[in-house]
C-alpha cells in the first residue's frame, strides 16, 4: 500500500468509529450529529477529512468508469449492485484491504466481474468509497436512497404469525423456537427480509449413486447440466459427470421459490413484522 502512516492511522481510526456504530442503520443516526457538534461544518462532508482530496478524486474517476453502473455514481447503489455506503465490508475495510480483495477477485456468484487494479488504484477507490460512506452517514436517516429497518414496519405481526402457521406453510420447515429463535437479533431490516424471501446461502443435500452402486452423500457444491459436485462429510470436494451417475437433490430452499407467485405484498410485510418479534 502506498498510504502514508498517518493516513493508515486515520483509516484505522475511521474504521474504529464505524465499528463502534455497528451495522449502518436507523439506530445509528446520532453519530454524525455528534461529529457535527465537535465542530465540523455542515456544508462540507461531516466526517473528518480522512483522505487526500487528490486520492479521492482519482478514486472517484476510477469508480465512475468501473463501478458506478452497478453501485451508483455516489456508491449509494445503482443497477443490480448494492449500496456501498451501507456495506459492512466497507465499514470494516482499512485502506482497501477488504475492498481490494473484492475488486480483484470479483463476486462471480453475484455477477460482479473482477478488476485487475494496482495497489494505488485500490487505495484511491477505497478512499473514494469511504468518503462517500462518510457523506451518506453525515446526511443521516432518509437522506439517501436505500432501505432503513424503520421502512419495513408496516406489517401486522399477528397476521404474519397466522400466515407463517397457515397459508404460507412456513411452519412445515421452520420453528420460532428452533431454527428461527432469535432470528431478529441476528438479522435486521432489509437483510432479514431478503433472507426471509430467499435464503441464498441455504445448503442443498445431494446423494450421488455411482455405477458401482455405491452412494455418496454430501452438501451440493456445484451443479450444471454436465457436472455434479459435493462436499462430503470429510470435507472433500468430489464431482462427477451427470451422465455417469444418478443423483438426487434435496433443496429445501425451493419452497421459497414456490411462494413468490402466491405472496401478496401484505403477506410479506406481515411476515416481516412477525419475524421481527423473534428476538
Amino acid at each position: 500500500m502506498n498510504l502514508s502512516r498517518s493516513t493508515l492511522y486515520r483509516s484505522a481510526l475511521l474504521a474504529g468509529i464505524f465499528l463502534a456504530s455497528g451495522a449502518v442503520s436507523a439506530a445509528q443516526a446520532a453519530k454524525p450529529k455528534a461529529q457535527a457538534a465537535a465542530g465540523v461544518k455542515q456544508d462540507v462532508p461531516a466526517a473528518p477529512k480522512l483522505y487526500p482530496p487528490d486520492l479521492v478524486r482519482k478514486g472517484g474517476a476510477l469508480f465512475r468508469q468501473d463501478c458506478s453502473f452497478c453501485h451508483g455514481r455516489d456508491a449509494g447503489g445503482g443497477e443490480t449492485g448494492p449500496d456501498l455506503t451501507r456495506s459492512e465490508l466497507v465499514t470494516h475495510d482499512v485502506g482497501g484491504d477488504k475492498i481490494g480483495q473484492v475488486v480483484r477477485n470479483g463476486r462471480p456468484d453475484k455477477g460482479m466481474p473482477r478488476f485487475d487494479r494496482s495497489d494505488e488504484q485500490i487505495a484511491s477507490l477505497a478512499a473514494f468509497i469511504h468518503t462517500q460512506q462518510n457523506r451518506a452517514q453525515a446526511r443521516g436517516v432518509g437522506g439517501r436512497k436505500g432501505v432503513d429497518a424503520a421502512d419495513l414496519q408496516t406489517g401486522n405481526a399477528e397476521a404474519g404469525k397466522k400466515y407463517f402457521e397457515g397459508a404460507g406453510g412456513c411452519a412445515s420447515c421452520h420453528s420460532p423456537s428452533g431454527d428461527l429463535a432469535g432470528i431478529a437479533s441476528r438479522l435486521k431490516g432489509l437483510m432479514l427480509e431478503e433472507q426471509m424471501l430467499y435464503p441464498e446461502h441455504a445448503k442443498s443435500k445431494v446423494a450421488v449413486t455411482l455405477a458401482s452402486g455405491q452412494t455418496i452423500t454430501g452438501t451440493l457444491a456445484y451443479l450444471d447440466e454436465f457436472t455434479v459436485g459435493l462436499v462430503d462429510s470429510a470435507g472433500w470436494y468430489r464431482s462427477w459427470g451427470t451422465s455417469d451417475v444418478k443423483f438426487k437433490i434435496d433443496a429445501p430452499a425451493n419452497a421459497h421459490v414456490e411462494l413468490f407467485p402466491k405472496y401478496t405484498d401484505d403477506d410479506i410485510h406481515n411476515l416481516m413484522a412477525y419475524l421481527q418479534t423473534l428476538r
Partner: protein, 517 residues
C-alpha cells in the same frame, strides 16, 4: 509484431491473396449490408433483420458433436467481451471499452490492436462496431464516435456525439444505413433525454437527431428513453426500428404522470430525416427500469394464415410482442415468464401497469427483477421452425422508493431476490413456449444464434457453450469455457469451412468441424 511474425504474416497474406475466391479487401458496401454473403458478418446483428439466423448448414445436429476449437484469442483484459464480432474480408473485429482487435478469422492471429484509454463515461461494456467501405465506426465511453481505418486501426476522425459531463456515455454498436451512421446513447443516473443521432458516414457531421423525450426540465414530462442498443432496418419500407430506454427518474413516476412517451417504446423512423413514422410503447409509465431496447426482430411470415411484415420483441418487462411493422399495430402481446406488475393488456396491446406495484417505501415484490426477463443479449428468430428463441431470466425482486430518495436519477432502490436462466423457444403466433432449456441459477448472459441446419448456439449460467437442437432444445454439444459468457454467438463460412464464434470472459473462441478428407 516481431520480424518473424511479420514475415509469416506477409506470407499468409500472399497465400490468402493467391487462394481462389479471396479478393483484395473491399470492406463493406451497401449490397453487403442488404444481402450479407456467407463469408461475412458485416454489422452488429449480421444483417438488418436482427434475426441472427444463419443459412449455413455445414455444422448440423448430426455432426455438431465433433465441433472442435479452431483458435482462441486472448484479449488479456479483465473486461468481458460483450461485442458481436464483425467479419469482413476474412478479418474479425471485436471490442471491449476503449479497445478494438482485428484478428485473422482463419487463424486467430492478431493484425492490430487499437487501445485508447478514456477516463470519462461508464466502462460497462461495448457492443461492437459498424463498418462501411474500409472504415470502422466505434463508440468510446466518453461519448465520441471514432472512425478508424480497418487496415491498421489508425483514427480517421473522431466526433463528440453526447456530453459525457452531463451524464451520457456510449456503449452500443453503430448501425450503417445508406449514408448514415446511426448511434444511440446511454445514461440512467441523470434526468436527460435519450436520442438517436445520424452521422455522415464520410465526414462525421451530424445529419439529424431524434429525441425520445422532451428536454429536461419540461414540467410534468419525463426524461430518459436512452437508446442503448442497435436497431434494425427494413429497406423496402425504408424504416429504421429502434428500442428506447426507461424513463427518469427511474424508480419514481410522480414527476412524470401519464405514459411517458417515447420511453420504453419501439419506434420506426425514416433514416433520411429522423422523422417518426410510428411508436409502440411496450411499458407505459415504467417504474422498474425495464427499457425496451431489446432487438426489434424483423420477420416476414404468415401470422394466423395471413402474410405479414412483423416486428417481434422479447422485452425486458416480461412480455413478448408481435407488431405489424408497417404501422406499429399490435398482433400479439403475451408474457413469456413470471410477470406480476400489470393489470392486463389494453386494446392497443400495451400492458397496463398496476399502480399498486410501483416501488414503495415498504417494498413491492416484483417479477421479473430489474435485469428483466431478458436484456441486451440477442434473441434469434429460427425461420426453419418458426420459433423466437430467447435467453430468459425468470426472476423475483423487491422494489423500494420513498420521498427521501428524491426525483433525480435512480430515486429508489431494488434488490434481486431470486432468478434463473432458461432458453425459451416461443411460438410467435401464440406466444406459447414450445420448449425450455434450463441454464442454471442466477441467470445466463449469452445471446442466441440459430442456423438453417436446426442448431441453436448459446451459453449457460456456469460458462458452458451449448449447441441445442432447435426443434426440441436438447443439448447436442457443449464445451466449458471457464468464465462468463455475455455476448451473442455469430457464424460465417471461409474457404468452405463454417466457423462459430463465441466469447467467454476476455477470450474469443472460434469453433469448426475437424478437417475432412
Amino acid at each position: 509484431m516481431n520480424s518473424r511474425n511479420a514475415f509469416l504474416f506477409g506470407i499468409s497474406v500472399l497465400l490468402a491473396l493467391a487462394s481462389p475466391g479471396v479478393l483484395l479487401a473491399q470492406g463493406v458496401d451497401e449490397q453487403m449490408l442488404l444481402h450479407p454473403p456467407a463469408d461475412s458478418w458485416p454489422s452488429y446483428h449480421g444483417d438488418y433483420s436482427g434475426r441472427r439466423h444463419s443459412t449455413l448448414t455445414q455444422i448440423t445436429p448430426q455432426n455438431v458433436k465433433n465441433l472442435a476449437l479452431a483458435w482462441a484469442f486472448q484479449t488479456e483484459q479483465t473486461a468481458l467481451i460483450k461485442s458481436s464480432p464483425l467479419l469482413v474480408d476474412g478479418i474479425v473485429y471485436f471490442t471491449v471499452p476503449d479497445n478494438i482487435w482485428a484478428v485473422d478469422a482463419r487463424s486467430g492471429h492478431q493484425l492490430w490492436h487499437y487501445n485508447a484509454p478514456t477516463t470519462q463515461g461508464e466502462h460497462i461494456g461495448n457492443r461492437g462496431l459498424a463498418m462501411y467501405k474500409g472504415y470502422l465506426f466505434f463508440l468510446a465511453p466518453n461519448a465520441h464516435l471514432v472512425s478508424l481505418n480497418a487496415k491498421d486501426g489508425s483514427v480517421r476522425w473522431k466526433v463528440q456525439v453526447a456530453d459525457v459531463t452531463k451524464g451520457y456515455w456510449t456503449s452500443m454498436a453503430p448501425l450503417v444505413v445508406g449514408k448514415h451512421v446511426l448511434i444511440g446513447v446511454s445514461g440512467d443516473f441523470d434526468n436527460l433525454s435519450g436520442y438517436i443521432r445520424s452521422i455522415d458516414r464520410e465526414t462525421g457531421a451530424t445529419q439529424w437527431q431524434w429525441d425520445s423525450t422532451p428536454p429536461a426540465g419540461t414540467p410534468n414530462q419525463t426524461t430518459g428513453g436512452m437508446t442503448w442498443m442497435t436497431g434494425t432496418y427494413d429497406p423496402d419500407l425504408d424504416l429504421v426500428y429502434w428500442g428506447t430506454g426507461n424513463p427518469t427518474p427511474v424508480l419514481k413516476g410522480s414527476t412524470r404522470p401519464g405514459d411517458d412517451p417515447y420511453t420504453c417504446s419501439i419506434v420506426a423512423l425514416n433514416p433520411n430525416t429522423g422523422k417518426l413514422a410510428w411508436a409502440f410503447q411496450v411499458s407505459p409509465h415504467d417504474t422498474h427500469d425495464w427499457d425496451a431496447v431489446e432487438t426489434p426482430v424483423l420477420v416476414d411470415a404468415d401470422f394466423h394464415g395471413e402474410p405479414k411484415k412483423m416486428l417481434m420483441q422479447s422485452s425486458r418487462n416480461g412480455y413478448f410482442f408481435v407488431l405489424d411493422r408497417t404501422n406499429g399495430k399490435s398482433l400479439l402481446t403475451v408474457p413469456y415468464g413470471p410477470v406480476n406488475w400489470s393489470l392486463g393488456v389494453d386494446r392497443q396491446g400495451r400492458p397496463i401497469p398496476n399502480p399498486a406495484k410501483e416501488p414503495a417505501p415498504d417494498g413491492r415484490l416484483i417479477a421479473p427483477d430489474e435485469g428483466g426477463l431478458t436484456n441486451y443479449r440477442s434473441p434469434s428468430f429460427d425461420t426453419k421452425n418458426g420459433l423466437f428463441i430467447v435467453d430468459a431470466h425468470p426472476s423475483w425482486s423487491i422494489y423500494f422508493a420513498k420521498p427521501a430518495d428524491g426525483v433525480y436519477g435512480w430515486s429508489g432502490a431494488d434488490y434481486d431476490v431470486w432468478g434463473k436462466g432458461v432458453i425459451d423457444a416461443i411460438d410467435y403466433q401464440t406466444g406459447k413456449i414450445r420448449w425450455s432449456h434450463e441454464l442454471g441459477p442466477g441467470g445466463a448472459g449469452s445471446g442466441v444464434l440459430t442456423t438453417d441446419s436446426g442448431l441453436t448456439f448459446t451459453g449457460d449460467a456456469m460458462g458452458n457453450f451449448l449447441a441445442l437442437d432447435s426443434s426440441n432444445g436438447k443439448t447436442l454439444w457443449h464445451a466449458g469455457s471457464g468464465s462468463s459468457i455475455v455476448s451473442s454467438p455469430t457464424t460465417y463460412e471461409l474457404d468452405g469451412r463454417q466457423y462459430v464464434l463465441m466469447s467467454s470472459g476476455g477470450v474469443m473462441f472460434a469453433w469448426d468441424l475437424p478437417e475432412r478428407e
